[in-house]
Amino acid sequence: MKDMDKSFKKDTETEFPLREEMRPHQVTAPDGQVIDIDPLQDYFCQEPPKVHAKSYFKIVEDFYNWARAHSLWILGFGTGCGAIEMRPLMTPRFDAYRYGIQWRPTPRQANLLVISGYLSVKTLKRAIRAYEQMPAPKYVVGLGSCTINGGMYWDSYNTINKFDEFLPVDLYITGCMPRPEVLMAGVLELKKKIKEGRADGANRYVENFEWYKANQKRVIKNWNMPDYNW
């Protein structure tokens, strides 16, 4: 692939600048006032992430963990085929609401990111952003074989294989598709883990931030956003 034809190769250096609306620009308000806008400043937080300490008192932390475990809000982001088995989970048959699980449409209010199956590179980029926007402590569950070792898309040019290289994963559920029951079992397992205080993926992410970013950038070639963007 070395002597690649330039005519259809897209040059990563020049062809992936920031999107136009992401660059600093000026906007004229209806009243004629000119406003300078730097979207990266406005939309993203440039502050690097921090490791979050536990509560000083163990009993308080345990109580918090209990509450966290019983109020898991899932981000409504179905990344792959697994999304289709998440619907039964939230509907009468399995009624995950019983377990304090809710569906949140915005990452800011979600604690649990379920990567439901394969991740194309394009989705991975969004999944990373969604994850970073979620408030810590946050949890990631890899649903389906594809998140573990590529699954049936192991040789696809557009899907990643090892999801744990990109985000810290708390739990894996195998299957293709995993039944809603397994997802439920996974969530219950995750609850156990949270209650024991072992679900510290958010901190792991911060601690190994460079490594994760390097992996992410290795795969996402049009990295047109700041590294810190939550």
């Binding site: 034809d5 259809f8 394009k122 980029k125 590529g150 192991w154 040789d155 040019y157 557009n158 294989n161």
Partner: protein, 187 residues
């Protein structure tokens, strides 16, 4: 006497139609040269009732150095489908755009641009990313692109795997001296 033969006879005088293949009663494939293709498409659509463009796709014949575009047209009245092949030069693939005839053709052309590198001058949003994003390799659907190798090189595979061929394994286990690489070796 089928619709297809009728039709192709009718157009045969003005167009260089070749390689007619009547696959089944309601499906016929044929080939026209590149410079006549769009004109014929228009005529088929406007005069012959082939109003439905089912899809437009491309076949890569790497060993012959050509791309073959396939326009699949359907006539709702006769319920007959025509597959029109157009050969393109693989190294310099360019084709006239038909986005003005069918709206969805623009999407197909975008896909072909991305997946094969075929150019359709004038087609809207042609060079925008379609399915891929940040793609820095040769177009992936071209035959010379090895997706497994690429996946392994970029996405890695999990460690801890390793397989043995039953035949080789039995050879090592059961009759090592009969193998060509016997343990003691010669000399």
């Amino acid at each position: 006497m089928s619709t297809a033969t009728d039709l192709l006879e009718r157009f045969g005088t003005n167009y260089r139609i070749s390689e007619v293949n009547e696959q089944k009663a309601d499906l016929t494939f044929f080939k026209v040269p590149k410079d006549q293709a769009v004109r014929l498409l228009r005529e088929l659509r406007d005069d012959a009732g082939y109003t439905h463009l089912a899809f437009l796709t491309n076949i890569d014949y790497i060993e012959r150095g050509i791309f073959t575009l396939n326009y699949m047209l359907h006539n709702y009245d006769t319920r007959h489908t025509l597959g029109m092949h157009v050969d393109l030069d693989r190294d310099n693939a360019e084709m006239e755009s038909i986005h003005n005839m069918w709206a969805q053709a623009a999407t197909y052309q975008r896909e072909l641009r991305e997946m094969y590198g075929i150019r359709f001058p004038g087609s809207p949003r042609l060079d925008d990313d379609f399915c891929l994003e940040g793609w820095d390799q040769i177009p992936p659907m071209r035959k010379e692109f090895d997706t497994a190798a690429f996946s392994l090189a970029r996405f890695y595979s999990r460690d801890g795997r390793g397989t043995e061929d039953p035949r080789e394994h039995m050879k090592q286990q059961l009759y090592p001296t009969h193998t060509d690489d016997a343990p003691e070796g010669g000399n």
